[in-house]
């Protein structure tokens, strides 16, 4: 099937740009790393590089076109054996809501995923369902902002602090509008001083304020991890129950795009290892909103792991401000009978894509979005595996001592007699994330890897 090349984003906040120039023409052979085109915004120009090999089959957006929305297909790349007619015949698909990556990254391309079809079996009903009778379409970014704004209106003790959260409205624009509504005493710009403000917020939480601390990315929280673990997580216990720490540490986690090893790693298993912390990592905008509201109301320190590439993705979000998602509850996002695929954050989208590909091959996958990493909703996973007898785990982080390892241990302890195959872990490869576009793609788990793993546990 021809590969769609999508309009990339220069920055997390870019929504559209100009396709300035094509450097390849239809029929040209392309190899990974070749510059295909140049795009421009009012701020910058950048090159679009090919990730895959093939032939440029069809240019869908002509050079000089202004206002091209991010993620619009701009060209089709033909793989070996495909003809330009295949490309012409391929419809320009309208992006689906849960398709990913919705927001393409600089100098990168992606295959357009097939839109997930409705699964055969229905997902189980939950208490959250009633709120979905009335929804609006929102990005994850907007949903997070609304969650903070609503909780700040409800409780004057809640405040947001972090680098660039106020005047600049967040490095990834999550705190848009909050300074205007709540003023500089409740939306506080901090210096670049991660241990300082993480410790300060922890002390403020000991004294009954309810800080929401934004880390520009969780990579920079490493400067503050002593305060997060030794102070925020342990003090309730060490003090014999005297001092709880109602605090949320939030920000983007995991790989973004082409930002290399120090800016691309998943901290889910790091924090989930530590008693005293709750760890949340949502995928959809509705869950991002509902879980952030719950996290802010929680009396414990909550690590709230967002994902830069999800910020711009849109989902249906309940209109009601009463809507929350409980911490510690996973969600079956696709019902299936043959294999259980467990994922969280950005991997949920890839797991759903994989499930669709598997469906075409006659394998009916159930996909569980963990949503919360700690406390882990073991019941939902166990119940699913007792039905499917097979488990594939998915995470962007490294495999060693990862969340998949924990799930494999859970299977040993709770599902041994139900397993028809050893658990398969799909994870990032065990290296610091490389920079080159093709290497980065190879190092991160893709839906194809999930498909292969699911087929392996089904002995197909």
């Amino acid at each position: 099937m021809p590969i769609e090349i999508l309009m990339p984003a220069l920055s997390p906040t870019m929504t559209e740009g100009k396709l300035a120039n094509w450097l390849k023409k239809e029929g040209d052979a392309v190899k990974a790393g070749d510059v295909l085109a140049e795009i421009e915004t009012d701020k910058a120009t950048m090159e679009v590089e090919a990730v895959d090999e093939g032939t440029l089959g069809k240019i869908l957006v002509e050079a000089g076109t202004e206002g091209v929305a991010v993620n619009t297909p701009i060209a089709m790349l033909l793989e070996e054996g495909e003809s330009a007619d295949d490309a012409k015949a391929a419809p320009a698909p309208k992006p689906e809501k849960q398709e990913e990556p919705k927001q393409e990254a600089p100098k990168a391309e992606a295959k357009a995923p097939a839109a997930p079809a409705q699964p055969k079996a229905a997902v189980p009903a939950t208490d959250e369902d009633r709120y979905f009778a009335s929804t609006k379409t929102q990005t994850v970014r907007e949903a997070l902002r609304d969650a903070m704004a609503e909780e700040m209106r409800l409780d004057k003790k809640v405040f947001l602090m972090g680098e660039e959260v106020a005047q600049y409205q967040g490095a990834y624009k999550v705190s848009q509008g909050l300074l205007d509504e709540f003023g500089p005493k409740r939306v506080i710009d901090t210096p670049i001083t991660e241990q300082g403000f993480a410790g300060l917020a922890t002390g403020a939480a000991f004294k009954k304020l309810r800080p929401v601390v934004e880390f520009m990315t969780f990579n920079f929280a490493m400067q503050a991890i002593d305060q997060i673990i030794n102070s925020a997580a342990k003090t309730l216990y060490m003090s014999g129950g005297q001092m709880g720490c109602p605090i949320v540490f939030r920000g983007p986690n995991g790989a973004a795009s082409r930002v290399a090893a120090q800016h691309s790693q998943c901290y889910a298993s790091w924090y989930a290892h530590c008693p005293g912390l709750k760890v949340v990592s949502p995928w959809s905008a509705a869950d991002a909103k509902g879980l952030l509201k719950s996290a802010i109301r929680d009396d414990n320190p909550v690590i709230f792991l967002e994902n830069e590439l999800l910020y711009g993705q849109s989902f249906e979000v309940p209109e009601s401000e009463e809507f929350t998602v409980p911490i510690g509850k996973a969600k079956v996002v696709r019902a299936g009978a043959d294999v259980t695929i467990v994922a969280f954050s950005i991997m949920v989208g890839r797991a759903l894509q994989a499930a669709e590909a598997l469906a075409e091959q006659g394998i009916d996958a159930e996909v569980i979005d963990l949503r919360t990493i700690r406390p882990l909703d073991t019941a939902t996973i166990i119940e699913s595996v007792k039905k499917t007898n097979r488990l594939v785990t998915c995470e962007e982080g490294w495999p060693f001592a990862g969340i998949g390892s924990e799930l494999a241990a859970l299977m040993m302890e709770e599902c041994f007699d139900y397993l028809d195959a050893p658990v398969k872990r799909v994870a990032g490869i065990d290296v610091p994330l490389p920079y080159a576009a093709n290497l980065e793609k190879m190092a991160l788990p893709q839906s194809d890897h999930i498909v292969e793993a699911a087929k392996a546990v089904c002995y197909r």
């Binding site: 002390g203 403020a204 004294k207 304020l209 030794n230 216990y237 060490m238």
Partner: protein
């Protein structure tokens, strides 16, 4: 090397010639001294485990501060924090029970020497990580400011923390947001097993000056000077004056922790200890003020009786049960 030529204010500047106030300070110092000597013995006997860091020789600082702080004020302490806890009002019995790992300890036996915390006394905790208490105290200062409690936060730290980046972060945030925080450096000249002169080049007062924070360096072994200076600084801070730095030059008598033979240290350093030690110094001043030796001896007896009783009560107190070992990891919903 600690210096005792610090810019101390002259005795003439000090207030009362009545002995009551000094007698109370002396008693508090004596309680801390004898408590730590008892802990040293209990450690040697195997009744107190782990790491015990004693502040013997430095009691005047905790005592002087404790005398001018109110219940609503908050402090964050260090690994060498027994004196701070007691001077801020942590009750002696529950203190001993904590250090001896008993169910009835102030932290239910889960914290120990390096984690004594008592919210009811405004003691946010000793801390096993050098420098880590600083931003926590500064955060409590933010809470005082936001909630308009009128409280002040005190950051205790040693000169061994001067090279920690978090000191700079905490000074900067306090100055930037004009927080009600007093940074108290107990400068005993030693960073664990090395002289601080081998670890940090800048005088603290200059560092404070760089952040625009007024700083004073005083004799940290004269409890009256400490109480007077701290009282004045706390009052300036309470009126909205923003942060202050108070450096107290003192002397660590024991090793970094109990069991440290201090082979790295010239014994001559402690030769004239009686001239430096805050307890004999306060005692001789009490003498000048007309307090009899008999009264001081009676005080000694009284303090020892309290410590004996606290030790016995701790020995008799129950060990924590296993259920307690698993409690309080999270605050339950609705708690």
């Amino acid at each position: 090397m600690p210096s005792n030529n610090a810019t101390s204010r002259s005795r003439a500047a000090k207030g009362s010639n009545k002995p009551e106030a000094l007698l109370a300070l002396y008693r508090q110092m004596l309680l801390i001294r004898r408590t730590e000597e008892r802990l040293s013995q209990l450690f040697a006997d195997g009744e107190v485990p782990g790491f015990i860091h004693l502040s013997i020789g430095q009691e005047a600082i905790a005592t002087g501060l404790g005398a001018v702080l109110e219940r609503r004020d908050t402090i964050a302490s260090t690994h060498r924090g027994h004196g701070h806890a007691l001077a801020k009002g942590v009750e002696l019995n529950s203190f001993f029970q904590e250090v001896m790992g008993r169910e009835t300890g102030v932290c239910k036996g889960r914290g120990g020497s390096m984690h004594v915390a008592d919210m009811s006394a405004g003691m946010l905790g000793a801390n096993g990580i050098v420098g880590a208490g600083m931003p926590i105290a500064v955060g409590s200062a933010l809470a005082h400011q936001v909630r308009k409690t009128g409280g002040v936060a005190v950051v205790f730290f040693g000169d061994g923390a001067l090279a920690e980046g978090v000191l700079h972060e905490s000074l900067n945030l306090s100055a930037l947001w004009e927080l009600p925080a007093l940074f108290v450096c107990e400068n005993n000249g030693w960073s664990e097993f090395s002289p601080t002169s081998k670890q940090f080049v800048a005088p603290l007062a200059k560092l404070a000056d760089a952040f625009g924070i007024p700083a004073e360096t005083i004799d940290g072994n004269d409890v009256e000077i400490i109480a007077d200076t701290a009282g004045r600084l706390i009052s300036e801070i309470r009126k909205g004056g923003g942060p202050r730095v108070l450096e107290c030059i003192t002397q660590r008598v024991r090793g970094h922790y109990e069991g440290d033979a201090q082979k790295y240290r010239d014994p001559a350093e402690l030769k004239d200890r009686d001239k430096i030690d805050p307890l004999p110094r306060a005692a001789s001043r009490l003498s000048v003020l007309g307090v009899s030796d008999a009264l001081l001896a009676a005080l000694e007896t009284e303090v020892m009786a309290e410590i004996d009783a606290a030790t016995e009560a701790a020995r008799a107190a129950p060990l924590p049960g296993f259920a307690a070992a698993q409690a309080d990891v999270y605050t339950p919903a609705g708690a």
